[in-house]
């Protein structure tokens, strides 16, 4: 089986500083993969490298095609939706306008309208906030909006950057539950970056552990969860 996304020996740079030291990972078709690690381990950088937001070397293949060196907007057009760190809400626009921006690359108006309803189905609270300025939504609602907006692209792969950040545990569980059903119903593969290891391990099939820009461990989440030493030394729960 060909991996949907495959990173090989990817290095990434912020100016002269190397933030990723040759990492390799892959996401299977329809799978959920999580990248775990502490602050500064290179989780966000990995997603940025995939989206062509920073200078990188190495190979990044999406559905067998090399996407390394492509512009961010071209990566989006291929069907990779990025739910960025801090949600990236367009604060002055309404909820609905934010969702429309998610469908920016699409011309199929009717299908866009259907997808809008689908997003409102997943997140009914967004329907109530339709005409409201997105900047006035709560943190949880903005996270839902960010995921909904990504869904409007009709992505095949979703990159999620710490969707649990700064949210109440109840809301986080709700959001993770919906992410699972998006994965199951819409067949969207996911690459999830998280600090909340316990939650992410429950959702994902596979995990990669990053430490200072390197993959130090990877494998099935099931086996990893059972291994006491991994749990205490890397996952901290």
């Amino acid at each position: 089986m060909v991996a949907m996304l495959e990173l090989k020996n990817v290095e990434a740079f912020y100016g002269p500083i190397r933030a990723l030291h040759g990492i390799s990972l892959s996401v299977e078709q329809g799978g959920i993969v999580t990248v775990l690690g502490a602050n500064g381990a290179g989780k966000t950088t990995t997603l940025r490298a995939i989206c062509g937001m920073i200078k990188t070397t190495g190979s990044i293949k999406f559905e067998g095609r090399e996407i390394f060196g492509k512009l961010t907007e071209s990566v989006a057009r291929l069907g990779i939706a990025h739910v960025p760190e801090g949600r990236g809400t367009f604060e002055k626009l309404t909820t609905e306008e934010n969702l429309r921006l998610g469908a920016f690359t699409r011309r199929d108006r009717n299908a866009v309208a259907e997808d809008m309803d689908r997003v409102y189905g997943y997140f009914p609270v967004l329907a109530e906030r339709r005409e409201q300025q997105a900047g006035t939504l709560s943190g949880g609602e903005q996270q839902m909006l960010a995921i909904g907006r990504a869904l409007m692209l009709r992505p095949r792969l979703m990159l999620l950057d710490e969707p649990s950040f700064g949210l109440a545990p109840m809301i986080v569980q709700e959001i993770f539950r919906i992410m699972r059903s998006i994965n199951e119903n819409d067949g969207v593969s996911m690459l999830l970056v998280e600090q909340n290891a316990a939650l992410a391990m429950d959702l994902a099939d596979q995990a990669f552990l990053l430490e200072t820009g390197e993959v130090v461990m990877s494998g099935d989440t099931k086996t990893m969860k059972e291994d006491e030493s991994i749990r205490t030394s890397y996952l901290g729960y």
Partner: protein, 340 residues
């Protein structure tokens, strides 16, 4: 969170949609009232005042262009006057050299402003915030001297004089009144176009790039195209304003297009409300009339008064006149909502 029954929810939704319809109706009435007022205005004041209001109109068009560029797309320009100069000279040269009638100069001036704006917008993509402001400031600094340098085309410091447009169709109005209506018509078309543009896909792309350009690009928004497009549209509006300036004043000379003009435009834009369409009109009014008011208050130190007025504005209405009006409007809506 209180759990409402379905009936209660439906009832509030119904009340809300009724309220929304009512508010939309008020807005429409207000807009029509304003247009009627604008049409009646030249019959209520002297020809000189009419001439001043014509200036308000075309300056408002230029300010709207700047609002689209700086307010909606977040690219700050301290050189917008250069595009006015361009449009003004395009019109002057067409009328003076080639004998083109005044009304045929508007579209070419806008087109050339558009093209020039796009070209300036291409290198501007790499500059952000203050750096872009300084680079465009350079444009404003250079404009008068460039105009003087190309004397063969621009007639240098002596400038170009053109004829005052005649009143067409034997209408029983003065030339100044006709110029006012001509400018008003163009303004209405351009404001309507801006409103449609900004409410649609292009407007959303502009605002998305301004608010969060990384997120915008990861939605597939092509910032490399939309940023110069905002410059082009801003340039086109300023170009049209420039042509209208030539037609209204019947004279162009390099020194009218210096640094001060560009800064004045930004002042008008901020006073009116930089991320708004209607604010551009208040910007135009401010640009034309604040110096007059300042001079009436003190003949000896009008600029000191001007400065004080600016400071007061910034304190009283930090988001511009339009922002202030919106605040009052929201307060009114809120009171209506609590009453129902």
């Amino acid at each position: 969170m209180a759990v409402d029954t379905i009936e209660e929810k439906l009832a509030t939704r119904h009340a809300q949609s009724q309220l929304e319809a009512k508010l939309a109706f008020y807005k429409r009435i207000g807009l029509i009232g304003l247009i009627i007022f604008a049409v009646a205005l030249p019959f209520l004041v002297s020809d000189f005042r009419t001439f001043q209001f014509t200036r308000v109109l075309y300056i408002s068009i230029a300010v709207l262009g700047l609002n689209i560029l700086s307010g909606y797309n977040g690219q700050f320009s301290l050189g917008h006057g250069a595009f006015i100069a361009l449009g003004a000279y395009v019109a002057a040269i067409m009328m003076d050299r080639w004998g083109v009638p005044y009304y045929l100069t508007i579209i070419p001036a806008g087109l050339i402003g558009f093209i020039f704006g796009f070209l300036i917008g291409l290198p501007a993509r790499r500059l952000e915030g203050l750096y872009l402001a300084l680079a465009t400031f350079g444009l404003a600094l250079a404009t008068p001297q460039i105009l003087k340098k190309f004397e063969i085309i621009t007639m240098g410091v002596q400038g170009i004089v053109v004829d005052k447009p005649e009143v067409p169709f034997g209408l029983p109005i003065s030339q100044d009144q006709w110029l006012y209506f001509f400018t008003l018509m163009i303004l209405l078309v351009l404001f309507w176009a801006a409103r449609n543009l900004l409410r649609a896909r292009t407007g959303r792309a502009f605002v998305a790039i301004r608010d969060h350009h990384m997120a915008a690009e990861s939605m597939g928004v092509n910032a490399g195209f939309y940023k110069p497009l905002a410059f082009a549209i801003g340039g086109a509006y300023a170009g049209v304003a420039g042509a209208l300036a030539t037609i209204t004043i019947q004279f162009v000379a390099p020194d009218s297009f210096g640094v001060f003009l560009s800064i004045t435009l930004l002042v008008g834009s901020v006073i009116g409300g930089i991320a708004s369409i209607g604010g551009a009109i208040f910007g135009g009014i401010a640009i034309v009339f604040i110096p007059n008011v300042a001079e009436e208050i003190s003949k000896a130190a009008p600029w000191a008064i001007y400065g004080v007025i600016l400071i007061l504005f910034m304190y009283a209405m930090p988001s511009g006149i339009m922002g202030f009006i919106n605040m009052l409007w929201r307060g009114y809506v809120k009171r209506l909502l609590t009453r129902t």
